[in-house]
């Protein structure tokens, strides 16, 4: 702020700027505030830089309204300083008054040259106003001026919100070229790949992120879930142990731990963990779903039924829940409702498992014709799968062979007898 011509009173106002700046940069906020107060009193509040710094300190302490007023005062003193305007805009943005903030930024754009920060902030405001296209435009402009991690992050977030995951990943990878060691970026990319079902790539990114920030609970959770998917339960449990220290009350974490135990066939531990997860977050449908699965496995069909029905109540558009509900119902000897649950699942999604299970249930209740029909459907769907998927679950082919044999016998038998 120095370097201005000194003439009489004006020079007086700026004589302590260097001191204030030093103290502010050293984060000596108490001392700094004292200096500022004394100086402001001396020049009756008409000094720009002290006001600016005071406002910054106030903001860092979370007193946004006061800081806004101070920034506005500074702007009044020097309306042509873009720094002041930007800060006013930022304060408005932090207070959630996005429209007002946008206006201020427009003003700033008129005054100054190209500035990535203004464009970036404009993008943020647009983002919060749910004007996503405008936001994307702004972020792109900001990146043209100067590239920044945060702009990339926000741009990716907008794309993710619009469910354009591929584009989002492109944005993030571009950002990674620019700063390859940002664990947050790495985690985000990993999670996106996970969402797209590309586990291998996801694992690569997440592992990379973990080397930079080994204690990030979110990353650990995601990594653990991938490891778990590959049935390496013990390794996953070790990972979760690190996360549990930091987030002992995380429902997702307990859910995953529970499923680890389930994978290790330790049902009591699994149920205990899942129940804790459910206690912590009763709205999470997947916990209920998992609890249903565990109970189904332990042969407690009534409990399993309750959990599946809870899960369906909370998330009615997940077809697998209906299939498991149907299996539970058939074990509880409610054939009719089991059938309608199967129908519902099949209506929602095509899956070879639905057809196979339906066929088995039908066959067990002597509906051989129908069973054969659904079995044929299953064969059709199963043949379409690639080899890897076919081998993924040996139980499926086992059941298929068993059912095939039984069906043949059943269809042949009545004609013989």
């Amino acid at each position: 702020m120095g370097g201005q011509p000194k003439k009489g009173g004006v020079a007086l106002r700026e004589k302590l700027n260097w001191l204030i700046h030093m103290q502010y940069v050293r984060q000596d906020y108490e001392v700094c505030l004292k200096t500022i107060e004394a100086h402001l009193k001396e020049c009756r509040g008409l000094s720009e830089y002290p006001l600016y710094v005071k406002a910054m300190i106030k903001r860092q302490r979370g007193e946004i309204v006061e800081s806004l007023q101070l920034f506005q005062a500074a702007t009044c003193l020097n309306p042509h300083n873009t720094a002041n305007l930007k800060q006013v805009g930022r304060s408005l943005y932090l207070l959630g008054r996005h429209k007002a903030a946008l206006d201020v930024y427009e003003e700033a754009l008129k005054l100054g040259s190209e500035d990535w920060e203004v464009w970036h902030s404009k993008g943020l405001c647009n983002f919060h106003l749910k004007q996503y296209d405008a936001a994307i435009e702004c972020f792109k402009r900001a990146n043209l001026v100067q590239r920044h991690d945060s702009t990339y992050m926000q741009l990716g977030k907008v794309y993710t919100l619009q469910e354009q995951y591929r584009t989002a990943i492109e944005v993030y990878t571009e950002a990674l070229e620019f700063s390859p060691e940002n664990p947050e970026l790495l985690t985000t990319v990993g999670l996106l790949y996970l969402r797209l079902g590309e586990n291998y790539k996801a694992f690569e990114f997440l592992g990379n992120s973990l080397t930079h920030d080994p204690k990030n609970a979110k990353t650990i959770l995601a990594t653990g879930s991938i490891i778990q998917d590959h049935s390496d339960m013990d390794v996953a449990l070790v990972k979760y142990r690190i996360a549990a220290v930091q987030t002992p009350n995380s429902a997702q974490l307990w859910n995953n731990i529970g499923m680890c135990f389930f994978g290790k066939q330790r049902f009591v531990a699994a149920i205990a963990c899942l129940k804790r997860a459910l206690y912590l977050d009763p709205f999470e449908w997947i916990i209920s779903y998992n609890l249903g699965l565990v109970h189904l496995n332990t042969g407690q069909y009534a409990s399993a039924f309750h959990y599946f029905s809870t899960s369906i109540n909370l998330k009615p558009d997940f077809p697998s829940s209906y299939m498991y509900l149907a299996i539970t119902l058939s074990r509880l000897d409610d054939f009719e409702n089991a059938c309608s649950a199967y129908d519902k699942a099949i209506e929602m999604d095509e899956d070879h498992l639905f057809e196979l299970n339906y066929a088995i249930t039908l066959f067990n209740h002597d509906e051989v014709q129908k069973a054969a029909k659904h079995f044929a459907e299953f064969q059709k769907l199963f043949s379409r799968l690639d080899d890897e998927a076919k081998k993924a679950d040996p139980e499926v082919s086992e059941q298929r062979d068993a059912l095939e044999k039984a069906l043949k016998a059943a269809i042949d038998a009545p004609e013989v007898s």
Binding site: G96, Q246, N249, R276, Y279, L314
Partner: protein, 505 residues
């Protein structure tokens, strides 16, 4: 019946706790012969028994005591040494705040409602506002005066026709002090019936002098008077001296109570321990220890103590209920269920118990039982417990995914008790799920005002404000949430994000 001596009849009635009839009979007899000392004595005892309270129990602190508390020794006590800041002591192996909810006083919800456990202690938070809020269900009013000890004689004057039985001001206390048996009856009458500790004190001091300062009973009563007058240090001296002449359970209890009142939980523990050494099988002393441990947030030791109590007295309601609550919050609803069933077998049947049974059944996945228990609780519940029961019905409804029922249940809970903070909180969450952001925000704000001891509404509000882009509000609320629950990971994370936003240039 006509042949029975009326004095004997009165005595029998006294023994059978039929005090009203006894008093009536005595009054008739006294009309015939006003100088019959036996009858006078009997009536005096009967009147006293009618108004007897067990003053070894801790009492609810009134507004005045809370606001003008001069007894706490330090404004910022060291961790684990004060009842007013229970969260400062860290307990290992105990369920955290995320698992076990807090009561208004900032300590984990106890399994047994005792006087003093529900209310916010002075200094814990809120000041005047906190003191005026009151923690009793069904009423927004706080306890005004010294709880049970209603103002001087107001309650008793009304009930007696023809004025008071004994006009204490006219008595020559010196004369009575010389007659030990009569003096004791008179003292109890003055203290428990008239609630006139000053006069009682006069009599007690005269009597102590008469007995050469050696009678434990009079010293203990002196202490009681001092305690009632708020002179805790003097009371402490008298109780200690009483124990010196003759160790008694009552005196130990009273002495520990004084220590608790002076906010010295560790000293109280020591006193109880001393008492336990002298009276190893007395449950009230053991319970005292357990209560103090619970109050300073050391559930592990308190549970051990409660177990010890149960070893001596297998049907102690307080111990059973506390253990049940402990097991419930440490993920063992099946065990809790057994404790509550034991209570039920003992003949306790109130809405709270049925409600707890219902919840245990629910978390132990016995759904059919859960609903019938809650049903039973609803039929038994009066207005002060109704809201809690409906709230728990709502919880169960969330548990089985029936959000419509949950919403209705919370609404009913609020309609019964418009200050039911937890219901507002859950209603807010449900509204948020429905997408009614403004309604959710309003609900959260209501809870924040109603129950400043819960961290959830603050965090929920902060998260919502953050998502809406109002970082200032979010920052304020998240900081408050952390004040209540310093280890809450999500709040810390949120605050970190906000700080990032603030420091970004």
């Amino acid at each position: 019946m006509a042949a029975v001596d009326p004095v004997y009849l009165a005595l029998q009635r006294f023994r059978r706790h039929r005090y009203d009839e006894c008093i009536q009979l005595c009054t008739e007899l006294l009309v015939q012969n006003p100088y019959d000392q036996a009858v006078w004595y009997l009536k005096c005892r009967a009147l006293t028994m009618l108004h007897w309270v067990d003053d070894t129990d801790f009492e609810e602190e009134g507004v005045a005591d809370m606001l003008l508390d001069e007894n706490a020794t330090a404004a910022l006590p060291r961790p684990g040494t004060s009842l007013s800041r229970p969260q400062t002591s860290t307990a290992i192996g105990a369920p955290g705040q995320g698992m076990r909810p807090l009561s208004a006083s900032g300590r984990p919800l106890s399994g047994y409602a005792r006087p003093g456990t529900g209310s916010a202690r002075s200094g814990s938070r809120g000041g005047v506002e906190g003191a005026m809020q009151g923690a009793r269900a069904g009423t927004a009013r706080p306890v005004t005066a010294l709880g049970r000890l209603v103002r001087l004689g107001t309650a008793s004057m009304l009930s007696e026709a023809g004025g008071a039985f004994i006009n204490v001001d006219r008595l020559d206390l010196r004369k009575y002090a010389a007659r030990p048996a009569l003096a004791r009856a008179l003292f109890d009458y003055i203290l428990y019936h008239d609630h006139n500790p000053r006069k009682a004190l006069e009599l007690a001091s005269l009597a102590t002098v008469q007995t050469n300062y050696e009678d434990w009973w009079w010293k203990e009563r002196l202490g009681k008077c001092y305690y009632m007058l708020g002179l805790f240090r003097e009371a402490e001296k008298q109780f200690a001296s009483s124990i010196k002449s003759q160790p008694m359970v009552v005196a130990h209890l009273q002495l520990a109570k004084v220590a608790l009142r002076l906010d010295q939980p560790n000293k109280a523990l020591e006193l109880y321990q001393q008492g336990c050494e002298k009276f190893p099988s007395d449950t009230s002393l053991m319970l005292g220890i357990a209560r103090v441990y619970e109050a300073i947030n050391d559930p592990v030791k308190s549970v051990a103590q409660f177990k010890k109590v149960l070893g001596v007295d297998a049907s102690n309601v307080e111990a059973i209920a506390s253990l049940a609550a402990h097991h419930f919050y440490t993920d063992q609803p099946e065990l809790a269920l057994r404790f509550y069933r034991r209570l039920l077998q003992m003949g306790v049947s109130n809405p709270e118990l049925w409600c707890n049974l219902g919840l245990c059944c629910f978390y132990a996945s016995q759904y059919d039982m859960a609903l019938s228990c809650l049903d039973k609780a609803l039929t038994l519940a009066s207005d002060d417990a109704m809201a809690d029961v409906w709230y728990n019905v709502g919880q169960v409804a969330i548990g089985i995914g029936d959000l419509g029922l949950a919403y209705q249940a919370f609404k009913i809970a609020i309609s019964v008790d418009s200050n039911h903070a937890e219901s507002y909180g859950n209603l807010g969450v449900l509204e948020l799920r429905k997408g009614n952001i403004d309604a959710a925000r309003a609900s959260f704000r209501t809870v924040q005002n109603l129950a400043p001891h819960l961290f959830e509404p603050f965090f929920n509000g902060a998260l919502l404000a953050y998502k809406l882009g109002d970082f200032q509000e979010s920052f304020d609320l998240a900081s408050k949430a952390l004040e209540i629950f310093p280890e809450h990971h999500d709040s810390i994370e949120l605050l970190k994000l906000l700080r990032n936003h603030f420091t970004l240039l």
